[in-house]
Symmetry: C2
Subunit: 236 residues, 2 copies
């Protein structure tokens, strides 16, 4: 935890927060915070700054907060990802959120096992936990937008055009017709990432019809949780 996330209801006065949950536990047992110490904090979806410990008891800490810095820059990227199996889903979220992705669409494709949609990791509360961990790790405060689309065809035919308007449209897809993934783009990107078994030809055609170009990034076949940081690092 490189930043403690604060929420409106933590405030007991305009510039003072009181924490008694896992954030207190972290400040107490990991950071060994004592009265007078300064900790790095950030307001949910807002500025970051420092908090000075003003009081500490056995179960809570009070801090005077000074929020002065804008949140970290985010990546101008929408990730559209075939829903991975649950442990991979968590890894993708934690990595991409830490790297600054603010918009995710998880979709059904032919090679996504339907059972993945039943996983408890997709529940709002669990998802929020993993997002918070990633923001706290990176030092960010801005929560991403994460949506789920259980039907490929209506999503691609009815929603993808508006969602990807004005962006460079890329689909990671190892194949004969794919070109090398571009590097160092300074422009908004919509990036489609297929499932472990790949997109099927019909899905690739739908995406190409929607204006996407297929790209590869080498001969090695990487797991989705590794492909994501590799692609993000390459694109931006």
């Amino acid at each position: 935890m490189n930043l403690i996330l604060l929420f409106e209801d933590d405030f007991i006065a305009p510039d003072t927060v009181r924490l008694s949950d896992r954030r207190f536990a972290h400040a107490d047992s990991v950071l060994k915070a004592a009265v007078g110490d300064e900790l790095r904090v950030g307001l949910c979806n807002g500025k970051t700054g420092t908090a000075t410990v003003t009081a500490k008891t056995e179960g809570a800490v009070e801090m005077r907060v000074a929020l002065e810095h804008e949140p970290l820059a985010s990546l101008p990227l929408t990730i559209i990802c075939a829903l991975p199996r649950p442990p991979t889903f968590v890894k993708v979220i934690e990595c991409a959120v830490a790297m600054g992705v603010k918009k995710f669409v998880f979709i059904q494709t032919a090679r996504v096992e339907k059972s993945y949609w039943q996983s408890p990791v997709l529940l709002a509360e669990k998802l929020r936990y993993h997002v918070m961990r990633a923001l706290e790790q990176a030092g960010d405060t801005v929560f991403p937008d994460i949506v789920f689309k259980k039907r490929f065809k209506p999503f691609v035919e009815d929603e993808l055009s508006a969602l990807s308007a004005g962006t460079r449209k890329l689909a990671a897809h190892p194949g004969a017709g794919s070109r090398e993934c571009p590097r160092g783009l300074n422009a908004p990107v919509t990036l489609v990432i297929g499932p472990e078994g790949g997109l099927i030809p019909h899905e690739v055609e739908s995406l190409v019809k929607a204006g996407f170009e297929t790209v590869t990034f080498g001969k090695r076949i990487l797991r989705v949780e590794h492909a994501v940081p590799v692609l993000l690092s390459r694109l931006f």
Copy 2:
């Protein structure tokens, strides 16, 4: 498993292998291989190619092997990494091996917990399992060299110079004196990656004295298992 790794003692004839372990289980239950099917294989530290299933029983599969392709290109990189906690160690190995790293040195630094050195994941057999998984994922056959150095000072003072000779020497270290990590190098690199808590000033000084330049890759603080693919993707 995108490639089945073969070893000399799998061969029952000059061009025929017989598999009855987890590779058979994979060919049988995941790939549903039947007589006549072709599977992608590679010889440990050697060429890759195809294997045609010639016989299959309840507990074994026999395949005629044709090895014709050179193994995938590897990265001209030595990673020198502060020993991470065991789950992170496994993630770093699996990701970096899949990406083509062939030389690892895991070292002790001031902020590495000594208990990490007792972990069973460092045992040769466990390590080999994770390396194989990564090679099979990537489609590679060449095993990396992984060494452990439990003492920072003698390693840096007596061995690092020879180890890093003729390479670009970089140490990932967020700090005021660090420059942006270079991109797209086409040259051998030795890359030092510190522990989660960072290198201490004295360690940074020793590395600078040994010819290393400190580099950063942005304001976001990433976990070691995410920093590795980001750095590799950026450097090569």
